[in-house]
């Protein structure tokens, strides 16, 4: 390998740069969500009657909503809720999804068929519909929302892991390892994991994006979290009637949700459209 090919190989392709942009944007949002409550200790429910739908001012750097609540504090709380719930759901979904995927590919036969059927069953219903029904059963419950989102997200992990594991496990490299007497743990660590981990990152980013969109959509149609919780979708619904008075105030949650989804899409990269 001469110097030129090394240089070509190490130069970041377009996808890596866009992923770095995404990670940078995401970290900024996380920083915003964590730093604001530390530096700006304003209660998200505290009303300031002297400033209703005010624009940015010294007392309220991002203005106030229709009830005189501080937008900076509310936005930070909303980002914390969306990102927190999305990250926890993504992690929760990843564990059973990946494990079942590997089990299905490893065992094959009836186990594979059965697990495949289970995932098909969940796929038959659009994700948001399932979340909507479960949230309807337990209205206003945070746990139900989290459980429902995880229940939708595990399928993608399962299907991807199963498909990838199948090809990897059938490869000559794995047969060679098996013939040499290595156990399942070694095969998983040395053969499966290196193939799976980059894909899982993409699935996690897409999953987080769809989780955040689902939570916001439910808030928007007034089925998800309840007021006075600060939630992006709910904030947009609440502020929509006051567009004429304070266009900037409603633009804020819209901008924030756009940035969150955009950062996650960039992290996920161009693999899936």
């Amino acid at each position: 390998m001469n110097l030129e090919t090394v240089a070509v190989n190490t130069a970041p392709p377009a996808q890596v740069t866009s992923r770095l942009w995404g990670i940078g944007l995401f970290l900024l949002l996380v920083l915003f969500a964590i730093a604001v409550p530390l530096l700006w200790q304003v209660d998200i429910a505290k009303q300031d009657y002297t400033a209703i739908l005010s624009g940015p001012a010294e007392a309220h750097p991002l203005g106030t909503d229709h009830l005189g609540r501080d937008m900076l504090a509310r936005l930070a709380a909303a980002v914390r809720l969306s990102l927190g719930l999305a990250l926890v759901s993504v992690m929760t979904a990843a564990v059973p999804g990946v494990l079942l995927g590997v089990v299905a590919a490893w065992k094959g036969g009836a186990v594979d068929k059965l697990l495949g059927l289970l995932s098909e069953m969940f796929l038959a219903l659009p994700g948001l519909l399932l979340v909507l029904l479960i949230v309807a059963i337990f209205p206003g419950s945070f746990l139900a929302l989290y459980g429902a989102v995880s229940l939708v997200l595990w399928i993608e992990y399962f299907r991807m892991t199963r498909a990838l594991s199948r090809t990897v496990l059938a490869s000559p490299a794995v047969s060679a390892s098996r013939l040499l007497g290595f156990g399942p743990l070694y095969i998983i660590r040395r053969h499966l994991w290196p193939e799976l981990s980059p894909v899982l990152m993409t699935i996690a980013a897409f999953g987080a994006a769809s989780a955040i969109m689902a939570i916001a959509a439910l808030g928007f149609i007034s089925v998800g979290v309840r007021p006075p919780t600060a939630e992006l979708g709910l904030m947009i619904t609440e502020l929509l009637p006051y567009y004429a008075e304070a266009p900037i105030v409603i633009a804020l949650p819209i901008l924030v949700i756009l940035l969150i989804i955009l950062s996650l899409m960039l992290i996920a990269g161009g693999r899936k459209r």
């Binding site: 909507l132 029904l133 059963i137 567009y243 819209i254 949700i257």
Partner: protein
């Protein structure tokens, strides 16, 4: 082909079972005594007596063990006996059939509009990859995809209905009312289909058969219509199947936003009012609509690309 239809049929059965099980759970977890509630729904709140409630309990078998009630519930579902709305008292079937019509019109309009917008732009970008137009389209589609339906809807309402006053922001009836909801759904779909069309166009234009067509002297127009169009169509239509989830989810949100009297609007209202039979009916209709649309995509693919037929 038969295998495919059988698979979709199985999926439809699964949708019915899943929706049935979830709504049964919803019914069982409602607070209060179901017999009294149903009696109140039937005879009015002033006419409920213990005798009436007991009659309902005996008639509907509410005193039976849970498993029997569940089987009876699924049995009703299997015979398409969806019952009556707890709020309006009308048969669920009637309401759902009415709502389904307007939802389907919205969905089909959105898909048609997205096909007018997305693939042609994608093909134009794909024929000159790396051009300014291609880059602009990439930026535009990336941003559009990062916008959830309801945000897109709100932005369109603010721009076209509130600021410019061109079209009504919500409601149903005239053609003007359909513009914004259809556009909201179509933009999201077009963002994806234009990317798919772009990538497919690049692949097709780089293929050997395309090069050979050019070599044998076909004009670029007949080359494109004879050898390009159909091959680009296959992935675009296949991807439409993937996007159906997006479409159905969009229908729920967009109908609620624009007060469109469709199935998504009906579902959200039924959930807010805790009208279990309506929740079941509308969720079932949405799930089945999803399966039917998927089947249609399969059939369209089958028609465009005959290569899969023998398999």
């Amino acid at each position: 082909m038969t295998r495919l239809l059988a698979f979709r049929f199985l999926q439809a059965v699964m949708v019915a079972l899943l929706v049935g099980a979830l709504t049964f759970l919803l019914m069982s977890l409602l607070p209060g005594d179901a017999a009294y509630r149903i009696a109140a729904g039937r005879y009015g709140y002033d006419m409920v007596s213990t005798a009436a409630a007991e009659a309902v309990r005996a008639e509907l078998g509410l005193d039976q063990p849970v498993i029997w009630r569940f089987l009876a519930w699924i049995g009703d579902l299997a015979t398409l006996d969806l019952g009556h709305s707890l709020v309006s008292g009308k048969p669920v079937m009637e309401a759902v059939a009415h709502e389904l019509g307007s939802s389907i019109r919205l969905a089909i309009g959105a898909v048609a509009l997205s096909f007018v917008m997305g693939p042609p732009l994608g093909v134009m970008a794909g024929l000159r990859p790396g051009s300014v137009f291609d880059r602009c389209l990439l930026l535009l589609t990336t941003v559009t995809r990062a916008v959830p339906h309801f945000v897109l809807g709100v932005v369109l309402v603010i721009v076209f209905a509130v600021s410019l006053g061109l079209v009504p922001s919500a409601g149903h009836g005239t053609l003007a009312h359909t513009v914004l909801p259809t556009l909201t759904l179509a933009l999201g779909l077009a963002a994806v289909s234009s990317r798919v069309a772009r990538d497919a166009t690049i692949d097709v234009a780089a293929s050997a058969y395309y090069g050979f067509g050019r070599l044998k002297g076909l004009s670029s127009f007949s080359l494109f219509t004879r050898h390009g169009l159909r091959n680009i169509g296959v992935p675009v239509v296949t991807y439409l199947g993937v996007q159906l989830v997006y479409l159905i989810e969009g229908v729920v949100v967009v109908e609620t936003l624009f007060a469109w009297p469709g199935i998504g609007h009906g579902l959200v209202h039924a959930i807010v009012q805790r009208d279990v039979p309506m929740v079941q009916g509308t969720a079932l209709a949405m799930g089945l609509m999803f399966v039917v649309l998927n089947t249609l995509v399969d059939l369209a693919n089958h028609w465009i690309d005959p290569r899969g037929r023998k398999v």
